[in-house]
């Protein structure tokens, strides 16, 4: 950790690092009106995660300038917008793998990927297993989860993507952490 990709935003110290910089400074949050509008962009990605969500489109939904959108979104929700979208796509793909018999190619297409290869690679990077492996495991485990509304259930199973996928690949290569644990470490 402590490498540039994650620590370059000086006003969001990670796990206590940089606290000295903040001493004596007021906590300056984002205006609730802005947060409410950023939430609208998040909601729209939730509702249609298979669609393309380039920054200009999201910025328009939020009524924020393109220059400020990505930074504001990350400050509000802790992840950059494209990474948030990725977690939603993976979440949907996992639900479809678990709950339907759709071919994996079809699931990749339905959840917004243009290429099966990219889907499979990203899926494995995020979840630690291939789509086929996850499907086989979920089918074997059976369904025990009925009483929770499906929408909340899927939120609970959302991948906790605190590091960029590329970052995660690099960590895997370094062998510095193992398995799904590292998704929780930032």
């Amino acid at each position: 950790m402590g490498d540039g990709a994650l620590t370059r935003t000086p006003d969001r110290p990670l796990t206590g690092m940089g606290r000295g910089n903040k001493r004596g400074r007021e906590r300056i949050g984002q205006p609730p009106e802005l947060l409410r509008r950023l939430l609208r962009a998040k909601d729209r990605m939730d509702a249609a995660s298979h669609e393309e969500w380039p920054v200009p489109r999201l910025a328009r939904v939020s009524g924020v300038s393109e220059a400020h959108f990505a930074r504001s979104f990350k400050e509000a929700f802790g992840v950059p917008p494209h990474r948030y979208l990725l977690t939603r796509r993976i979440e949907r793909a996992k639900a479809l793998l678990r709950d339907t018999d759709l071919p994996i190619t079809e699931i990749a297409f339905q959840t917004g990927w243009n290429s099966l290869g990219t889907f499979g690679r990203t899926f494995r990077d995020v979840t630690g297993e291939s789509p086929g492996e996850l499907r086989a495991r979920e089918k074997a485990a059976g369904h025990q989860l009925e009483p929770v509304p499906a929408c909340f259930l899927s939120a609970a199973h959302r991948p906790d993507l605190k590091t960029a996928v590329l970052e995660k690949r690099r960590q895997d290569a370094d062998g510095s952490m193992s398995g799904s644990q590292q998704m929780e470490v930032s």
Partner: protein, 140 residues
């Protein structure tokens, strides 16, 4: 029933706006609207549920210090408050009715194993799921 949960409160950014939303757009009734200086105890009620009140409260001094109130306003605006569920007889009809009144839907009605649900937010950012239970759910 004489025992049970009587009031559960939401934090809202503006009580007047919330009142309009829950009464005019969702069809709730005002139960209590009592002011004491800047403080306003405001609760609404679902017409079919006289034993339960939904409180529409402002995070504000003097109940909370200003920094805490501000943090809560941010949390509400980020949609990070816990899930709320509104149970309806006909999700699609309610969706059409509410959407016509300007309710901000986050999810159109979706069928899930016989039940239908949709999602909407109040003006403050509180997220609701609107659920039409499965027809045979009464036995559960």
């Amino acid at each position: 029933m004489s025992q049970g949960v009587g009031v559960v409160g939401l934090y809202v950014r503006d009580q007047e706006e919330a009142l309009q939303f829950y009464v005019e757009k969702l069809g709730f009734h005002v139960h209590t609207d009592a002011r004491n200086g800047d403080y306003r105890w405001l609760t609404v009620q679902h017409p079919d549920q006289p034993s339960f009140q939904l409180g529409l409260f402002m995070p504000q001094p003097p109940v909370l210090d200003e920094a805490t109130a501000q943090a809560l306003r941010e949390i509400v605006a980020k949609g990070a408050m816990p899930p709320l569920v509104l149970v309806v007889d006909d999700c699609r009809a309610a969706y059409e009715r509410m959407r016509a009144r300007g309710v901000e839907f986050t999810q159109e009605p979706v069928d899930r194993y016989g039940s239908v649900d949709a999602g909407f937010r109040d003006p403050s950012g509180n997220g609701w799921k609107m659920i039409e239970a499965r027809r045979d759910a009464g036995r559960a």
